[in-house]
Amino acid sequence: MITQVKKQNLYEELFQKSFSQSTQPAWLKDLRLKAFEYFSQNGFPTPEDEEWKYTNTAPITREQFSLSVEKKPSTQLENLIYKETQRSYLVFFNGQFIRELSNLEAASNIEIFSFSEALKTNNEILEEKLTKQVQYQRNGFTALNTAFIENGLFLHIPENQKVSVPIQILFVSTENVIATPRILILVAKGAEATLIESYLRSEQARYFTNAVIEISLEDRATLKHHRIQRESHNAFHITTTDVEIGEESIYDSTNITLGAKWSRHEISAKFTKEKAEVFVDGLYLTSGEQFADTHSVIDHLHPNCKSRQNYKGIVDGKSRVVFNGKIFVREGAKGTDAHQSNKNLLLSSNARIDTKPQLEIFNDDVQCSHGATVGQLEEEEIFYLMSRGLPASLAKNLLTYGFAEEIINKIELESVKATLDEALLNRLSVRL
């Protein structure tokens, strides 16, 4: 208890430092104050909370972080930008959006504002939308993120705009920093875009990313969203993603988790109208002492919507994985078509997986299924490869690679897929 209080004092200091310099409008300052108050009272969630039963936040509570003082990274970012996004990337450095580091030449039909810009020009929109989907009261992490809102990003794909290039949002952080990126994405009626959300870090820095991303799709909009979490192996990471999907819209996401010492991804997708589709797929690959948690909720509130969820995991070493996928089919949601699958390969007897698929249906006229497996590689498959001359270890690694490819192959962007393949093959010591 005493340490808990001390750590909150630590955040208190950081908060006062950030807050006292703020020139934000009153409504936002008020929001930040309330959020910090909530955090001060509640701290980070504990295992008594059902949603955090298998997720120990103590490793983060034990750590100390500081606010960033640097405004620009000392290293070049070029090799962190994908080939497809050379002229369409946005950069967050230590949790703050930095326009000067970004480049949108190839995506002139989208609108972006940093929060400080938006507060000058678009004050009402920001006031209306910000924290509408992810309230600070959700938990200690969202409270802390809200308390530290400074220069977030507002990304707007205007009506009927088809953005022909993918847009990369790159997050980089430096040693000791707590980064609290905040993003609002609005895909207007009939608009289409592809987004790559990438947390990349090749060095072994220790820092804490606590991101919140609120996404709203209006009617007949399409967003392809690739999330690549490859933080440093000493980093702590949590992202809360919340998506609202309008009529006949499609939200298609692929969530790759490779990095961080401790990570959690919370993703909620909610249908706000009829006939929309959601795909939330993912792959986590853990080893060593990593901890990786995925919590997803898909909420069918309206009729004739379709959701697919396909998560795969490769869990090795002494790593621990938590998967919790919920599908709600509400009373009025007739004609719902919802399927969820979570398949895990447990490669080591010292690793552990807690998986819990959950389906709650309050209506008859639905097609739903869910299932989770935790298993090893198939003996017959290993023998087949060995009978062609592959040593046992190579046979197993190749099968593990194949297991992951179903998810990675979903990513149509050549260089994104290639770098993931490379990371996977390296991890498995396979040379293709």
């Binding site: 009978s387 040593p391 194949g402």
Partner: protein, 249 residues
């Protein structure tokens, strides 16, 4: 002598399926092993290939004079043994060409020969694929995934063509094939047949032997070879079934 099996007694889960089997195979020969369902043909093929689920209770297998039973399945493969599976396995997420190149290079490495990069290997693979009339789309697809029965069997022969085994055991590669696919598979096998290698054709039907002519035909019944002869024996089996042999034995 390429392969010599002496008094092989083997089975699975403690059950004895092969009950004293003897067989000698020289380079350049084609042997057909025929027999009713459940007589132990696949068991023999898998024991030679080194399937870990099978147990050898007694007897020995010498391959090029060495004790085969001491070798791991992958070592056997790199030393030139190849079994075409009766039921080929699907490997999702790994393309046929990736898989074949890895297997090919493992063998090259073992033989102290030069490995091929993807471009060099693809040239070789395209040539081999012609033998079984397989297009390049098959090479890009995941190994056997979504292949029809006949395509899977052709894919086995493609693997054989790439790996150029000294001893190939084809386990019912003919079953489930229509006449066109049978012709393709047989042409592939015939073009791989040479003085330097041997083939054991495991089959249930005489039909395949019209396309691939064996030097010897053996009848396997109840875990033993109960009769051996030339291809006339296969014709006689076709005509009279297996019962007369079982009775005679």
């Amino acid at each position: 002598m390429l392969l010599e099996i002496k008094n092989l007694q083997a089975g699975i889960e403690g059950i004895k399926i092969l009950k004293g089997l003897n067989l000698k195979v020289e380079k350049g020969e084609v042997h057909a092993i025929m027999g009713p369902n459940g007589s132990g043909k696949s068991t023999l093929a898998k024991v030679i290939a080194g399937h870990p689920g099978y147990e050898v209770f007694e007897g020995e297998i010498l391959y090029e004079g060495k004790n085969l039973l001491e070798m791991e399945p992958d070592e056997r493969a790199r030393e030139g043994i190849f079994m075409a599976f009766q039921y080929p396995i699907e490997i999702p997420g790994v393309s046929n060409s990736q898989f074949l190149r890895i297997a090919y290079n493992e063998k090259m490495k073992h033989l102290g020969l030069e490995e091929l990069d993807p471009i060099e290997f693809n040239d070789l693979l395209k040539e081999k694929a012609k033998l079984v009339e397989m297009g390049s789309d098959f090479l890009k697809r995941s190994v056997n995934e979504g292949f029809s029965g006949g395509e899977k069997k052709r894919n086995e022969i493609l693997q054989m063509a790439v790996l150029e085994p000294k001893l190939a055991i084809l386990d019912e590669t003919d079953s489930g094939l229509d006449i066109d696919a049978l012709r393709i598979v047989a042409n592939g096998v015939n073009s791989l047949r040479s003085k330097e290698n041997a083939i054991i054709l495991v089959t249930h039907y005489q039909r395949l032997l019209n396309y691939i002519e064996p030097d010897y035909v053996h009848v396997l019944a109840d875990g033993r070879i109960v009769k051996s002869g030339n291809k006339e024996l296969a014709l006689k089996l076709e005509e009279k079934g297996y019962d007369w042999i079982k009775e005679a034995a």
